[in-house]
Amino acid sequence: MTITLNHFSAAAVFALFASIVFGITHRDTTREMVRYGLYCFAMFLGGALVAGWVMWLLRR
C-alpha cells in the first residue's frame, strides 16, 4: 500500500501528531497540555504557511 500526501497535508499530519506528543510531555495539567498542544499545532502550520509565502516572495 502506498500513500501519497501533498506538501500541505504532510505538514498538517506532522503538526497534529507532533503537537499531541509535545502537549502531553511538556506540560503538567490537562488544561495546560491541551493549550500547549494547540499552540504547537498553530505554530507548526503557521510557520509552514509563512515559510511558503516567504519563498514565494523570494522567487518573484
Binding site: 500500500m1 502506498t2 500513500i3 501519497t4 500526501l5 504532510a10 499530519v13 506532522f14 501528531f17 507532533a18 499531541i20 506528543v21 509535545f22 502531553i24 510531555t25 503538567d28
Partner: protein, 137 residues
C-alpha cells in the same frame, strides 16, 4: 509502629526504583506503554496512536529505514532517530520493510516521518521516566 512505617517506605522506594527502570524500557519498546503501565491511560493511548500512525504513514509513503552504520553523519543521525521507535523499528527491520522508493516524490517525507516518530518516542520515554520517579504527575 515505626518499624512498619519504615518497611512501607522501603517497599514504596523499591517500587519506584523498579518502575523507574521498567517504564522507560517498555515505553521505548511499545510507544505509550510507559504511561499506560503507570495508569495514565489517555496520555498513553494518545502517544501510542501518534507515534505509531506517524511511523506507519512513513512506511506507507515508501520512506526509507536507516540501519546501524558508521558512515555519513546524517545516516548515523537517521539511525538514532529511527531506533527511537523501538518495537516498530525492530519489526520493520525484521520484515525488511522501509527499503525506500526513489520513484515516489513523497518517499523522503516518509523517511522523515519515521525519524520524527522515533524522536517523539524518545521524548515520551523521558516523560514516562519523570512520572515514575515522581517528578511529574
Amino acid at each position: 509502629m515505626a518499624n512498619s512505617t519504615s518497611k512501607t517506605k522501603v517497599a514504596e522506594a523499591a517500587a519506584v526504583n523498579t518502575m523507574a527502570v521498567l517504564a522507560p524500557a517498555i515505553a521505548w519498546l511499545i510507544p505509550g506503554a510507559g504511561h499506560i503501565i503507570q495508569k495514565r491511560w489517555i496520555r498513553g493511548l494518545l502517544i501510542l496512536i501518534s507515534v505509531t500512525t506517524l511511523f506507519l504513514l512513513g512506511l506507507a509513503m515508501q520512506g526509507r529505514i536507516y540501519k546501524a552504520n558508521g558512515g555519513d553523519i546524517l545516516d548515523i543521525l537517521g539511525f538514532i532517530g529511527d531506533v527511537g521507535a523501538g518495537g516498530l523499528y525492530i519489526v520493520t527491520l525484521a520484515m525488511e520493510w522501509g527499503q525506500g522508493a526513489i520513484a515516489f516524490a513523497t518517499a523522503d517525507y516518509g523517511t522523515k516521518f519515521m525519524i520524527v516518530a522515533g524522536l517523539l518516542n524518545f521524548i515520551a520515554v523521558a516523560d514516562a521516566y519523570h512520572i515514575a520517579i515522581g517528578k511529574k504527575q
